[in-house]
């Protein structure tokens, strides 16, 4: 069964997703447990895939046994095996922690449909990660967008408008991607990535290829919320149900970032992306502006979810910057940042979900003294915030470190300054919250009374931690941040070093 693992990751979720509404008709509560089981087995399949890749090298899985370039194949190499396990681990943990929150935020009658869409979204993200076919990628991209539109629209007031904006921009992005695929198909007659990368170098000077490349950059850029194309992202993250913000913030943009890597490095080779068209120069500027813009906008926010959304825009900038540095350290830093940011942003959103579930607080000013009410949750928040800022033992430090090394190696001193400045800005907006959590007294929203005055002894606040089903995933995510940080050399040695093209310093 081991060699079937790549297909099982998708098939389990796909088949279960359509039983969930049927069982949901009989008993609504069953929808959640069926979904959870499916996610668990899919995670096991993803782990088996990763194990196979690490021990025996890249896997080529032919759908229906048809050989490429005619058939669709799944290609799992070192980069996407890691991303696959990352996506499936984070969505499994999100599923565990989301139960209570979904039960409160979503109407009972919609639970089966919610979980069905949820499974389809995770399925499509995993499909995007695994596939080695450009058109198949488009199909998964569309499935992920369509399910995300539906899930975001299930949120609070304002979610419909946010989702509608995302529909418009997401459709533009997907059409651009499809146009790019069409141009490549006209020029080469192939849709298989490996095949394309063999055919393309002979026609790199063709204008069709330039246009296709531009369409890809803009289309995928829209999907990942790259700086000037990010307009849908803050609203969508803010108004979506908490569980969905928690799912899409760490996974969806990261998968798009992975696709970005794949298109720039595999489909087109680095010679084209960096020398034939000066895409790297342009992307460096865009990434740098995006990093600073996201950080400054995050400082200006009052709503915690919105703040995290803007922070995501800034972090996407780091990943793109890693690609655009066009050297060994930059690429490794960018790829590692996919992992570190996924864990950090995932646990931040998970903490916010727990806080909203337990207290209903969303305004940053209301976080005062929350550490005495929810000590473990806030510790995890702190750790994730440290990772976002880049404090040493956490994952964020190492990915930023490699990025800084990349800027130094490429002698882009102004980019070094941008990364350092952005880290300072991150520190500003995260320590603002941490200061409120740990060094202000707790204000009980229910009674309205202030919990003690300065210089007086702080009143005892009863510990009211998040339910265990939320707390355990939060702590596991926080452990993930530390694990990615402490084992970063192993991750790079076993997975990420292989993405660097041959002959690159």
């Amino acid at each position: 069964m081991m060699q079937q693992a790549p297909a099982l990751t998708i098939a389990i979720l796909l088949l279960t997703a359509f039983w969930v509404p049927i069982f949901g008709m009989v008993k609504r509560e069953s929808a959640y447990y069926i979904s959870l089981t499916a996610m668990f087995f899919s995670f096991l399949a993803a782990c088996a895939t990763l194990y196979a890749v690490v021990t025996t090298g890249p896997i080529h899985y032919r759908m229906g046994g048809w050989p490429p370039p005619w058939g669709i194949e799944f290609v799992i190499d070192y980069l996407n095996a890691g991303v696959l396990v990352l996506i499936s681990l984070i969505s499994l943990l999100t599923t565990v922690s989301a139960k209570k929150s979904v039960e409160r935020e979503i109407h009972r009658s919609k639970w089966p449909l919610f979980w069905s869409l949820y499974l389809l979204l995770v399925m499509s993200l995993m499909g995007m990660t695994e596939t080695g076919d450009m058109f198949n990628m488009y199909v998964y991209l569309e499935v992920s967008s369509l399910t995300a539109y539906g899930l975001i629209a299930m949120g609070e007031k304002g979610a419909l408008m946010a989702s509608f904006n995302y529909v418009i921009l997401g459709s533009v992005g997907a059409s651009f991607y499809l146009l790019g695929v069409g141009y490549l198909y006209i020029a080469t007659g192939s849709l298989n990535m490996a095949d394309l990368s063999k055919i393309l170098p002979s026609i790199y000077r063709s204008k069709v290829i330039f246009t296709a490349f531009a369409f890809f950059i803009v289309g995928i850029g829209l999907k990942m919320g790259l700086f000037p194309l990010h307009m849908w992202l803050p609203d969508a993250y803010t108004h979506a149900p908490s569980a969905i913000s928690t799912l899409i913030a760490p996974t969806m943009t990261k998968v798009s970032a992975y696709v970005f890597f794949r298109i720039i490095l595999t489909v087109f080779n680095p010679h084209f992306s960096w020398e034939v068209i000066p895409a790297a120069t342009l992307l460096r500027w865009i990434a740098a502006v995006g990093i600073i813009y996201g950080s400054i906008m995050a400082i200006a926010q009052k709503d915690i979810k919105r703040m995290l959304a803007y922070s995501s825009i800034s972090q996407i900038g780091y990943i793109v910057l890693g690609i655009a540095l066009a050297n060994r350290m930059g690429l490794i830093g960018g790829a590692l940042h996919i992992f570190s940011h996924a864990f950090a942003k995932g646990s931040l959103f998970m903490v916010v979900m727990a806080v909203i579930y337990k207290t209903g607080i969303r305004n940053i000013d209301d976080f005062k003294g929350l550490n005495r009410k929810m000590p473990f949750t806030m510790a995890a928040f702190c750790l994730a915030a440290f990772s976002m800022v880049g404090v040493p033992p956490t994952a964020g430090f190492f990915s930023k470190w490699y990025l800084v090394l990349g800027t130094v190696a490429g002698k882009y001193w102004w980019l070094t300054a941008v990364i350092l400045a952005s880290s300072l800005l991150n520190a500003v907006y995260f320590f603002r919250i941490i200061e409120k959590i740990y060094f202000s007294s707790f204000v009980d929203l229910v009674t309205g009374g202030s919990g003690g005055h300065e210089h007086h002894e702080l009143p005892a606040v009863a510990v009211a931690e998040a339910p265990l089903m939320m707390l355990v995933p939060i702590l596991l995510m926080a452990a993930g941040i530390l694990a990615v940080g402490l084992f970063n050399t192993q991750i790079i040695h076993h997975l990420l070093q292989f993405i660097v093209p041959k002959g690159l310093a």
Binding site: A11, F18, W19, G64
Partner: protein, 154 residues
């Protein structure tokens, strides 16, 4: 909700055409693997048949024949047939969707593949039909999915 409006010509014409239309839809589905046509086209024709009845005879008439719950069930089960046939191939040591490995009582591998594709076309047809009708119901009824639609235990 659009009310019914009696019109003898439309009702008579729809009554005559309904049965051949459904038959034609099924024919298109089953010819999918060897000739132009297939699950999507056939499913659209089947869905259009129900939509035609809904236009001619009103929603109550159609809802009595195919309820929203049934539509949801058909849409889901259609995809499941597709994926299930694909996953069944794993049991006989084929890759996902490798129908040639299915142990069907036919002589050649190509005939087995044909039958596998036909099974998949049936699934596609059911789903497309369900989704077509569901879209029409949603357009007619601005409420969309009603809270009591999925009620099971109450």
């Amino acid at each position: 909700m659009i009310n019914r409006y009696d019109n003898l010509i439309i009702e008579f014409f729809c009554r005559i055409i309904a049965a051949p239309l459904f038959l034609f839809g099924v024919y298109i589905i089953f010819h999918g693997e060897a000739s132009p046509g297939g699950g999507f086209q056939g499913g659209v024709i089947l869905g259009a048949g129900f939509i035609m009845l809904a236009i001619a005879y009103g929603m109550d008439f159609t809802l009595r024949r195919i309820r929203e719950k049934m539509i949801l069930f058909l849409s889901c089960i259609g995809v499941f047939i597709y994926g299930g046939i694909g996953a069944a191939c794993l049991l006989w040591r084929g890759n996902f969707l490798d129908y040639g490995k299915l142990p069907l009582p036919v002589d050649s591998v190509s005939a087995i593949r044909g039958l596998g594709i036909m099974g998949i076309e049936i699934g596609v047809g059911l789903t497309v039909m369900g989704v077509m009708i569901s879209i029409y119901y949603d357009l007619i009824d601005p409420g969309g999915i009603q809270p009591d639609m999925l009620s099971g235990e109450e």
